[in-house]
Symmetry: C2
Subunit: 755 residues, 2 copies
C-alpha cells in the first residue's frame, strides 16, 4: 500500500482508495472519483447526494445557452438518486465509523463502503457505480446494505430533477414520465431544442409500497449480517443520438437484464482500452497509479461514439463548456495518435465537421479560410464570449481576447493533422479531411498576416500566444513557427499527385495566386531566431519587460487574491512573468528544430519566469526538461502535473469564473510526459526514435505504441531497452540514443552505465 496523501492510497497501482470522509472536498472528489464513458460523465458523489454536493450527470453533445453568455453541456436529472431510511433515520455518509471510497481504474468502477451506527444498529452501506463502456447510455449502480441486527429498511429511489447547473437552467420543457412501468423524464433544451430522455430502472427485490411523482418507495426486511443488494440504472438518450430517443431508451430499459452481465461487458471493454493505453512504471506505485488515474480520466473524457470535442474539463462538470480548446490537439491527441490512432482520427474529424463554424468565424472578423474557435462546441462557432472575467476590484467586466487574438489554435490543428499523417500515413484521411482543413487554415493565416513592405517581411501582429498573460503582442515565436509550418505542409500537400488534390482545390476555390502568396509567406514570414545569448524572444519587446525571477515574486503585488493576472492591467502584463509554457512549448512540438544547446538555454531562461498557473504548463516543462537531460527537473514537473487533480493543486475559480473539474489536458499530457518525455519517443521521417532517461525513482517503464499499423512493445530498464513487434511483416527503423537500428521482431539495446 503506497500513500498518495495521508488518506489517499493505492494498494496495486490500479486502485485509488480514500479512507476519510471530508465534505469540503465535494467538488474535488466528485471529480476525481467520477465515472464516464465519453458519452456522459457521472460525478463521484454518493447515492443520496443532491445539488449541494455537486451531483451531476453531464451529457455530451447537449450544448445549450441558458444565460445568454456561456453555451455549455447540460447536466441532466439524476436517476440514481437513492436514500435509505432505518427507523425513520435517513442514511448519510457523515458521522461514519468506517469510510472507504475507491476508484478501480482497471475496471472503471467507483465504489464506497461506509459503516455507521443507526438506531443502535451497525449499518454498512456499499455503493458501486459505473458508466458502461459497452452501452454508453447506461449508468449502473449497485447498493448493498448490511445490518448487524434484523431491521426494516425503507428505500426511496427516483429521479432528482433539481440539477446543479453552472450557467442557468437549460430546459424549456420538462415532461415527467411516471405512468409507465418506468419512471423517466423527457427534457427539451432551450437553444437547439434537443430532446433528452432520462429513464430509471430499478431491480429491487422488496415490497414496492408507493410511487410518488418521480420516486419509488420500497420496504425491505434485512436479516442480521446478510447483505441485501439492489440495483438501479440510469438511461440517457438524446435526439442527437437517436431520432426517437424515448423509444431507444425504452429499448435499452428492456435490454438490461442483470447488473453483473452488463458490468462484465463494461469491464471487457476497459480491458481492451488498457491493452492499448496502459503504461507500466516499475518501482513507484504512486507514480504508477497517478499515471493510470490520468489516463483513465483522459479516456472517459473522450467521445468515441461520435466526432465530438474533448472538453477541457471533460465531462466532469460544465466548466469550459464541454468544449474543445487547443488542449484537445496538443495535449490529448498524442496519446491516441501513438496508441489508438482511430481515436486521434475521430478527434480530427470533429475539426473537419466544424470547418463551417471556423470559416464563419474568419468571415465575421474580416478574414478568410478557417479561424477555429478558441472554445469549440457543437458547430465550431466561437463559444468564447468577449467578456467573462471580472475585475474583482472594480467589478467591471474584463475584455479577454482569447477568441480573437489566440489564433494559434488554427495552426495547432494543422500541426496535429500533420502529426497524424506522419505517424499513420493515412492517405485517405489526408485526402478526405486533412488537406482541406490545412488549406483553409493556411488561407486564414494568409488573410491574417501583415506584410511589412519596407522590411519585405510578413508578421503576425496583435496575437496572444499560449502564455495568456500577454495579450496584444506581435510575432509570438510559438504562433509564427506554427504558422510557418502550416504553410510548409500546405505547400507539400499541394505537391501530391492526386486527382483528389485537384478536387479539393476546386472545391475550396484555391487559386494560383493564393498558392503563390503562400509560398511568399513561407519564404518571408518573420521567425524569431535565438539572439546572441541563444534565447528566442517570446514576442517583440518581451526582453524589454520587467524581469522578475523567480516569477512567483510577482504575486506579492496582488491587491486581491482573486484578481486576474493578465489583461488589461493585471500584475504580470508589463513583466516577463508567464502564465505557462510558451516558447518552451515550441521545443515540445518540434524537438529537433533547434540544437539541444539552444533548447537548454531557453529552458534555463524561461523556466524561472514561468508561473505555471495553467495546468498545461508543468507537463510541457517536464517533457522539454527530459529532452535536455534535466531528468530530476523533468521528474519534479511530472509529479506536479500528474497530481494536479489528485492533490487538488489548482484553483476552482479564477477572475470570478468557475474553472473546477478534471484537468483533461494534464490527464492527456501525463502519457506524453512519460512516453515523449522520459522515453524520448518521437516519430519522424519514417523512424521511431527513443532517447530514454529513467528518473531515479523508477526501475522501469513499459508501454505499447502503434505506428503505421504495427504495435510495438517498448520496455525500458536501467540496463537495457527491449523492443518487440507484434507482427513482423515490415521492418521498422529505430533510432535509440542517436544510433540507428532495424526492428524486425525484437531488439535489445544495452544501456551505457552512465545513464
Amino acid at each position: 500500500m503506497a500513500n498518495i496523501t495521508d488518506h489517499l492510497f493505492t494498494p496495486d497501482g490500479w486502485t485509488i482508495i480514500k479512507d476519510k470522509y471530508d465534505q469540503s472536498q465535494a467538488i474535488t472528489e466528485g471529480t476525481n472519483f467520477m465515472v464516464g464513458n465519453g458519452y456522459l460523465g457521472y460525478r463521484g458523489t454518493f447515492a443520496e447526494d443532491t445539488k449541494k454536493e455537486y451531483v451531476g450527470c453531464i451529457v455530451s453533445d447537449t450544448w445549450d445557452k441558458a444565460d445568454g453568455k456561456w453555451e455549455e453541456l447540460c447536466t441532466v436529472p439524476n436517476a440514481l438518486h437513492t436514500t435509505i431510511n432505518i427507523d425513520q433515520e435517513p442514511f448519510t455518509v457523515s458521522n461514519n465509523t468506517f469510510f472507504e471510497r475507491s476508484l478501480d481504474l482497471k475496471n472503471a468502477l467507483s465504489k464506497s463502503t461506509v459503516k455507521k451506527v443507526m438506531s443502535n444498529k451497525n449499518i454498512t452501506v456499499k455503493q458501486e457505480k459505473f458508466a458502461s463502456y459497452d452501452d454508453l447510455h447506461i449508468v449502473a449502480m449497485q447498493y448493498q446494505i448490511i445490518s448487524d441486527e434484523d431491521t426494516k429498511v425503507m428505500i426511496q429511489t427516483g429521479i432528482d430533477d433539481d440539477v446543479w447547473s453552472i450557467n442557468g437552467h437549460h430546459f424549456s420543457k420538462e415532461e415527467k414520465l411516471i405512468d409507465q412501468e418506468y419512471i423517466g423524464m423527457k427534457l427539451t433544451t432551450k437553444s437547439y431544442k434537443d430532446e433528452i430522455v432520462v429513464l430509471k430502472k430499478n431491480d429491487i427485490a422488496c415490497k414496492s409500497v408507493k410511487q410518488d411523482d418521480l420516486y419509488n418507495y420500497y420496504e425491505c426486511e434485512l436479516i442480521k449480517d446478510i447483505p441485501f443488494t439492489f440495483h438501479t440504472y440510469m438511461i440517457v438518450v438524446t435526439s442527437n443520438d437517436f431520432k426517437d430517443p424515448l423509444s431507444k431508451a425504452e429499448e435499452i430499459y428492456h435490454s438490461i437484464k442483470d447488473y453483473h452481465s452488463i458490468k462484465q461487458k463494461h469491464m471487457k471493454k476497459w480491458e481492451q482500452v488498457w491493452n492499448k493505453l496502459n503504461v507500466n512504471i516499475e518501482g513507484n506505485l504512486v507514480d504508477q497509479v497517478g499515471l493510470r488515474f490520468n489516463i483513465y480520466h483522459a479516456v472517459i473524457a473522450t467521445p468515441l461514439h461520435k466526432s465530438l470535442p474533448i472538453g477541457a474539463r471533460g465531462l466532469s462538470c460544465q466548466a469550459y463548456q464541454g468544449s474543445a480548446f487547443w488542449d484537445q490537439e496538443i495535449f490529448n491527441t498524442p496519446m491516441y495518435l501513438y496508441s489508438w490512432p482511430n481515436v486521434a482520427k475521430n478527434i480530427l474529424i470533429y475539426r473537419y465537421n466544424t470547418l463551417k463554424g471556423a470559416k464563419e468565424k474568419a468571415k465575421k472578423h474580416g478574414y478568410e479560410g478557417a479561424f477555429y474557435a478558441w472554445i469549440s462546441g457543437k458547430t465550431g462557432e466561437e463559444l468564447c464570449p468577449d467578456f467573462f472575467f471580472k475585475d474583482v476590484i472594480t467589478k467591471r467586466d474584463i475584455r479577454n481576447h482569447f477568441n480573437l487574438w489566440q489564433i494559434h489554435i488554427s495552426p495547432d490543428i494543422a500541426y496535429t493533422i500533420h502529426q497524424y499523417y506522419e505517424v499513420t500515413k493515412d492517405e485517405d484521411f489526408l485526402l478526405q479531411y486533412g488537406i482541406e482543413m490545412t488549406f483553409e487554415i493556411a488561407r486564414f493565416l494568409a488573410s491574417r498576416v501583415n506584410y511589412k513592405p519596407m522590411k519585405d517581411q510578413y508578421e503576425l501582429n496583435q496575437v496572444q500566444g499560449p502564455d495568456e498573460y500577454h495579450e496584444n503582442i506581435d510575432n509570438n515565436a510559438f504562433t509564427n513557427y506554427q504558422a510557418y509550418f502550416t504553410f510548409k505542409w500546405a505547400l507539400e500537400y499541394l505537391e501530391k499527385t492526386s486527382d483528389k488534390i485537384i478536387a479539393i482545390k476546386q472545391k475550396i476555390n484555391l487559386t494560383h495566386s493564393e498558392i503563390k502568396l503562400w509560398k511568399d509567406i513561407k519564404e518571408k514570414l518573420y521567425l524569431p531566431k535565438p539572439n546572441d545569448e541563444g534565447i528566442i524572444e517570446q514576442f517583440d519587446g518581451y526582453f524589454n519587460l520587467e524581469s522578475i525571477v523567480p516569477a512567483s515574486k510577482v504575486t506579492k503585488r496582488l491587491i486581491d487574491p482573486e484578481e486576474y493576472y493578465g489583461w488589461p492591467n493585471g500584475i504580470t502584463v508589463y513583466t516577463q512573468c508567464l502564465k505557462q509554457a510558451d516558447t518552451v512549448q515550441l521545443f515540445h512540438l518540434y524537438p529537433h528544430l533547434f540544437d539541444q544547446d539552444i533548447v537548454q538555454k531557453n529552458f534555463d531562461y524561461y523556466e524561472p519566469r514561468t508561473l505555471h498557473f495553467s495546468s498545461l504548463s508543468p507537463s510541457i516543462h517536464s517533457i522539454v526538461a527530459s529532452h535536455i537531460g534535466y531528468i530530476e527537473q523533468a521528474y519534479k514537473y511530472f509529479k506536479k502535473s500528474l497530481m494536479i487533480d489528485l492533490l487538488n493543486t489548482n484553483e476552482a475559480v479564477s477572475g470570478g469564473t468557475f474553472i473546477g473539474g478534471i484537468h483533461t489536458a494534464a490527464n492527456g499530457a501525463s502519457w506524453q510526459m512519460v512516453v515523449k518525455g522520459f522515453a524520448g519517443l518521437t516519430y519522424e521521417e519514417n523512424h521511431i526514435e527513443l532517447d530514454p532517461h529513467l528518473p531515479h525513482a523508477w526501475e522501469g517503464l513499459s508501454f505499447n505504441i502503434y505506428v503505421r499499423g504495427e504495435q510495438v512493445s517498448i520496455d525500458i530498464r536501467r540496463e537495457a531497452i527491449y523492443l518487440k513487434k507484434t507482427d513482423n511483416n515490415n521492418e521498422i527503423q529505430v533510432v535509440i540514443h542517436n544510433k540507428k537500428y532495424i526492428l524486425k521482431d525484437q531488439l535489445i539495446i544495452k544501456e551505457e552505465k552512465n545513464d
Copy 2:
C-alpha cells in the same frame, strides 16, 4: 462694462478686470493674468507671493529631467519677489477694502490695485508687470504705494529661490551672485548642464538699509496721499541664448534705464502684434474680450526668438512640459499662417530641427523615416513616458500608448507643411525644409502600414486617433486620411522639377522602389467611406461598441471621480463615447473632402457621443457646425471653447497628473472658430473662400489675413461683406457663398436677407 462672470468684467473689449480676491483661484488666476513673451512666462501672481501661491517664471528651452520621468521646462528663481512692511506689518492682498486686478490685452500689462487698512492707515498698493516683447529677457514691475497718512515703509525685494516646480528640482548647481552691484543667481540644469542666469535690478529711491543674502532692504518715507513708486526688474538669460549668459545679463542690466521707456518699446511691439492678429467682434463685448484674451495667450506662448515648440500649456506652468503636441500644428499654427506667416514657418522649422529625434524614435520602434514625438521638446526625442497616469483605484501605473500609437502627429505635420505652402507658395521653405520632412514622414508611414495581401489593401493598425479614449484600434479614419494625403503630397512634391528635389532624394537616400511603394500605398490605403447612413466609422468595429447617447451618461459608471476614462479598462473603452472630436476633426481639416450632407450626418451622429473632455474638442465642433450652417450650435461651442480658461471649466488634474495652466490649443483655436468657422475662410487652389454666417449675438466681424504676400482686410456685416487689399499689385480670386469674384483693391458683396 460687460460682465464675464459676477466678478470678472470688461469695459472695452481690451481689458479684463477682476474685482474680488479669492485665494482658492490662485492656480487659475496665476495662469489667466500671466505675462509672457514666448521666451518666458511669468505667472499672474502678486509681488509678495511665493511657491504656495504658485509663483512661477517658466523659461523656454530649459528642458530638464529631474525625477527620471518627465522632462520639463525649468521654473527659475523669482527676482521680482517684493514685500513691504508698514509698522512691522507685511502687506498682503488679503483682508482688503478694495481689490482690482486687470489684464490689459492691448499692451500686455498685468496690473492690480489693492486697498487695505494697515495700522490704522488706508494703504493703496498698485502693481504693474510686463514681460517685455522688446527685450525678451526682461520682466519689469512697477510698485506704487499710497498712504492716507505720513508713514514709514520697509521694502524687502530680492530673489526667492524656493521655486514651485512640478516634477522635481532641476538645478545641479546654484551660485548666488551677491557681491556684485546686482543680486543674481547662476543655475546649472541637471540634464543638459544649461546655465541660467537670473539677475535683479532695483530702481528704488529710498535709503538702502541692508543687503542680506538674496534680498535688499529699503526704508522709505511716505508722504500723505503722495504716491511712492519704485521699479524692479528680473533679467533671465540662458546659455542656450548666449554663450556667456552672465555677461549678456549684465549687459541687459546696464541697458535698463527707466521703466517707462522699456514699457513704451514693449507696447509698440504689441501694437504690431495686434495689427496682424486683432479680430473685431461687433456687438458683444464679452466675446470680443474673450477672443482677444485667447489670442493674447496664444501669442505669449509662441516663441519667436528661436524655432522652439509652442507648449500645450504655453509658458504658464510646467504641465505638458513646455512641449509641442499635435496641438501646435493643428490648433495654433493656422492663425499665424493666415496672419503672420513667418511665425508659422518658424514653428515648422522647429519640426525640421527635430527631424533627427523623430528619425531616432522611428528606428527605436523598428520603423523608418520620421516618427514625430507625441511630446516634443528640445531635441524631438519622445518625452512622453510609457507610464504616467495612475489607476486611482488600484494605484497601479497605467501604460498609455500616446507615444507609440498616436501616430497621426507625423502626418499632421505634413498636413501643416502643405497648408503653409498652399497659403504662402513659399517654395524656398518647401525645398529647404518642407519636402524633406514630408518625405521622411511618408517613409515612416510606409514602414508603419500593414499590407493585407488577401485584401490587396494597406491598413494602419494598432493606432490611437485624436479621441484618446480608444487606444489599440485599426484604421482610424482620421489617421488613415491624414496618411493618405501625406503620400499624395509627397508624390506631388516629387513631380517638382528642381535640382533641389534630386538633392533631397540623394540626401535621404530615397530610392525608386520606395517611391513605387508610396504610389502603391496611395492607391490602396484603406480609407473608410461613409456607410449607407452616411456615417464614416471612426475605426474598425466602432459601430459595434455600446452606444450611449448623450455620452455624458457614461460618467455615472465612475467608481472614483478621479479615474481615467480610457485605456485599459476605463468606463468609455468599450463604448462609443469619445473624449474629443475625431472623425469631426477630419471635416475641419478637409472642409471640401465630403459633401456637406455627409458632414452634417456625421456631426449629428458623433456630436452626442462626444464628451468634450479635451480642450481641443469644442472648437472643432464649433468650426464644423459653422460649415454645415448650425450657427447657434457653433456659437454654443465657440463660447465653451473661448471660456475654458476664463471660466476655469477644465480640471487641473487627470488620472493623478497635474494638467493645469493655460489651454494654448484652445487659445489658438479661438481665432480659427471665428475666421475659419463663422467667416468660413479657406484658402485652396489659389483663391480665398469665405462663407460667413454671423451668430445672432454679433453685429459684425472684421480681421486681416495675409495671403501670398498681400494683406486683405475682411469686414463682415449683416448686410454686406467688405474686402480690401493693402497693395493692389495682384488680383486675388475670391469665392463668397460659392460665387466667384475678383478682388483688385476692394469689394463689397451684399448679403442675401435670409442669412
